[in-house]
Symmetry: C2
Subunit: 144 residues, 2 copies
């Protein structure tokens, strides 16, 4: 694979991602939870996380994660639980209300997205399906 080909592909890829950013934002706009809030909640869906891990997984700095958690806690969607093995650490976990809000938000967003899928051909849909693992790997490769 030549360098020039890769450079061109990189340009196209960055371009569609840039546009996708605005698309994601517009999908999220009509819900009660912002994009960042939904991201954070999604991260906590499987298991409670400490602040530093939330930051790491989200690709943001620790103070930014603290801020997100504070907002979500104020809204009653998560709660801070002190670690019993390390007094410096705060575990953040979803509340029942948080899980409900997250489920509702995800459903709304996925429905909107799924509806847009209907404007694609079966082949086009399949091409996206096939690319997802590769994009996932690429995201990993580009995460510090």
């Amino acid at each position: 694979m030549s360098n020039i080909e890769n450079l061109e592909l990189a340009g196209s890829y960055r371009e569609i991602l840039r546009k996708a950013l605005y698309v994601v934002r517009s999908i999220d706009a009509d819900g009660a939870l912002s994009t960042a809030q939904t991201s954070t909640l999604n991260m906590l869906a499987a298991a409670p996380q400490r602040i530093s891990l939330i930051a790491r997984n989200a690709g943001i700095r620790v103070p930014s994660a603290t801020e997100q958690v504070t907002k979500l806690a104020t809204a009653g969607l998560v709660e801070r639980v002190p670690s019993n093995t390390d007094a410096r650490v705060v575990e953040v976990r979803l509340t029942t209300k948080g899980r409900q809000a997250l489920d509702a938000a995800n459903l709304r967003r996925n429905q909107t997205m799924a509806q847009a899928f209907e404007s694609l051909s079966a082949q086009e849909l399949e091409s996206i399906k096939l690319a997802i693992p590769a994009i996932e790997k690429l995201n990993e490769a580009l995460s510090p």
Copy 2:
């Protein structure tokens, strides 16, 4: 295609997109131009555009586009040119300095991305390549 399948695909797709957005931001972080600035400049690379079209293409509101253009103009990267057919309209065009800055920024970003491509197999790379047109179409479908 069942609705449930599409909902699941939508969830996966939104998930990788969300992560990709942070990746894009981190790639853009080491350059002189911000993501939004590069977007705007890229839009002007082919031909001058009026403010309202910049806004429309970028998926933002007119006042936000005005603000971006003002910043870029202050930096000497673009210039406002009054339309000679409609006195309400302002055409925005790249300056030489703007084109140079854009080329440099794109090159840096594409190089970083192309380097990450090397961690993918040829198949994985191909899957991304094939998905780009579909994602592009999807972006269009989800743009208001």
